[in-house]
């Protein structure tokens, strides 16, 4: 039903890509086996999501404690910024190839490589977010006898949530998009469609790109929702 409807819309090459997502098709190089279709697409998308979630979690586990600590203490600005900037310049493919020689290929390799992409924005934003909290609020908290941990988690972090979350959202988008190279290191994500034009054709390449974009959009919306829930009421932007 849906596929027939789609192919009759004047969508140009997008139409072929959508058809590829909804219906498996013959390929000239597979010896008769059909490729694409919902089953394969969902399987690849779920793997892409799995790798993304693991990598984001790992980057948060590494970057948040460091960023929050440095931000709270107000030290290491140079370190936080330099690390952040240097991390952005790491070539992912080279990293995967390098790690393949050390720890082998597979989910572990890909997760680490992708998390290195996520650490810089999370770390930098955590540092900046905590630093920009109004010093008067922090002094007041200290004045009423809050411990340092309480100041961090009850005052600074809640006030820094928008900036913190912006870092996590940026990291997530970068990671989900880059997870398309995972098939080069043993993990079949939607990149399989994109990297193997010989097998999946032009439609497959475009289909892969479309589903990755949708996945990124869905993650962005989910995190925006989460951010809204986490942001203290006083900080929320009210609809006009």
């Amino acid at each position: 039903m849906i596929p027939t409807l789609l192919t009759h819309l004047p969508l140009g090459s997008i139409g072929g890509a959508l058809e590829f997502i909804f219906q498996s098709q013959p390929s000239s190089v597979t010896g008769g086996k059909e490729v694409g279709g919902p089953a394969q697409t969902i399987e690849l998308a779920l793997t892409q999501l799995e790798v993304t979630v693991l990598a984001v979690a790992l980057s948060m586990a590494i970057a948040l404690p460091i960023g929050l600590y440095l931000g709270h203490r107000g030290v290491g600005e140079a370190l936080a910024v330099a690390l952040g900037n240097a991390g952005r310049a790491v070539p992912e493919l080279a990293l995967i190839a390098f790690m393949a020689a050390v720890i082998g290929v597979g989910l572990f390799n890909v997760t680490i490589a992708l998390s290195i992409l996520g650490i810089p924005p999370i770390l930098t934003n955590a540092f900046v977010g905590i630093r920009q909290v109004d010093r008067a609020s922090v002094d007041a908290a200290r004045g009423i006898g809050m411990t340092e941990a309480e100041i961090l988690f009850k005052v600074e972090v809640p006030l820094a949530i928008p900036t913190l979350m912006a870092g996590i959202r940026g990291a997530t988008i970068a990671i989900v998009a880059t997870a398309t190279i995972a098939p080069l290191a043993g993990v079949l994500t939607l990149g399989d469609y994109i990297l193997n034009r010989n097998v999946y054709g032009e439609d497959g390449v475009l289909a892969g790109a479309i589903v990755v974009a949708l996945l990124a959009l869905a993650l962005e919306l989910a995190l925006a929702g989460l951010q809204r829930l986490l942001t203290s009421r006083g900080l929320r932007l009210r609809p006009a």
Partner: protein, 327 residues
């Protein structure tokens, strides 16, 4: 280290010259016109001032062997007097062909089997096993699309199932059929597209009836790394890989006794109108300089790029010089 490399180079230069001489001698009987140009001492490519008005852009796919071929052709054409630019490392064959059809490049080296399967939809078993037959079939197909293919280079490159010599000895493997019975315990690594292709994993499963413990897609640049690190029991290699001659004691290739991997000789593909405009020296030069490209020679050239980290440009220049094409 340095001196060993130099010594190795010198002996390789001799080897190259030898292979070339054999190649030229072998071709002499069938093609009398080009023998003169390729003959002993007179092998240098003559620059023809007529060619100076033709601009050519030579492309290649994105792996070292293709870049070497692209550079060999480009530098030889330049020596013949053409104004040559290169646009190497374009991507996969689909992208290279598209770039050619759009007129952004004048031509690029393709492989007979790849062309017949990827572009013209032949099954691996339909690909003629002799180079000439495969070439003629590919050429006929290309001509339907306004393109043409020049005669094939001597060597043939194919995918191969490779393993460590140690593993092959332990499991007594010589042919791919020998994997029957043990393949379910063995992991296979290959390029992501290998998984679905009938001339790769799909063919091994269908035509040999093999089931592997697992298949892991990896970047082709890692095909030896995964074997060396012990992650892969089997890995898809190429017969023209330098490691297969440089590290004979370490890696072996299993014989493809059911012909799942069709062999492919390089053929230079170009646009018919470009070929007409460029005149006879275009084809003549390309066919001439590839005569020295036998399997051991290309393995050696690949070794210089992949193992010794020289540039494709430099290696192609060395080949042309050592083989006496350029001064």
């Amino acid at each position: 280290m340095r001196t060993t490399t130099k010594k190795a180079r010198a002996s390789l230069a001799v080897l190259l010259a030898l292979f070339l001489a054999i190649g030229v001698a072998a071709c002499g009987s069938s093609d009398d016109e080009s023998t003169e140009a390729g003959g002993q001492g007179g092998g240098a490519i003559a620059s023809n001032p007529e060619n100076g008005k033709t601009r050519l852009t030579i492309g290649s796919k994105n792996f070292p062997e293709e870049e070497i071929l692209g550079e060999v052709y480009a530098q030889a054409l330049e020596a013949a007097g053409y104004k040559v630019k290169t646009d190497l490392s374009l991507g996969s064959e689909t992208i290279a062909l598209q770039t050619l059809k759009q007129g952004e490049i004048s031509g690029y080296p393709e492989y007979t089997a790849t062309a017949l399967e990827s572009f013209f939809g032949l099954e691996p078993e339909e690909v003629p096993s002799d180079a000439q037959g495969a070439y003629e079939k590919a050429k006929a197909e290309f001509e339907k699309e306004g393109l043409t293919a020049f005669p094939p280079a001597p060597y043939s490159s194919a995918n191969a199932v490779g393993t460590l010599k140690k593993t092959a000895d332990e499991l007594e493997l010589e042919t791919i059929s020998d994997l029957n019975g043990s393949s379910e315990e063995l992991s296979l690594y290959g390029s992501p597209e290998c998984r679905q292709r009938i001339d790769c994993l799909a063919g091994l499963e269908k035509l040999y009836g093999l089931k592997f413990k697992s298949f892991h897609p990896v970047d082709i640049g890692l095909r030896y790394t995964v074997l060396e690190k012990g992650q892969a029991d089997l890995s898809i290699l190429f017969t023209s890989d330098p490691q297969l001659s440089a590290e004979k004691d370490k890696f072996v290739v299993l014989e493809d006794d059911k012909h799942v991997f069709p062999p492919g000789n390089p053929i230079f593909i170009t646009d018919q109108s470009v070929a007409e405009e460029a005149g006879p020296d275009y084809e003549k030069t390309i066919v001439e300089v590839q005569k020295g490209l036998t399997l051991p020679v290309i393995q050696e050239l690949n070794a210089r790029v992949e193992l010794e980290k020289e540039s494709a440009k430099q290696v192609a220049g060395e080949y042309l010089k050592e083989a006496g094409y350029t001064g």
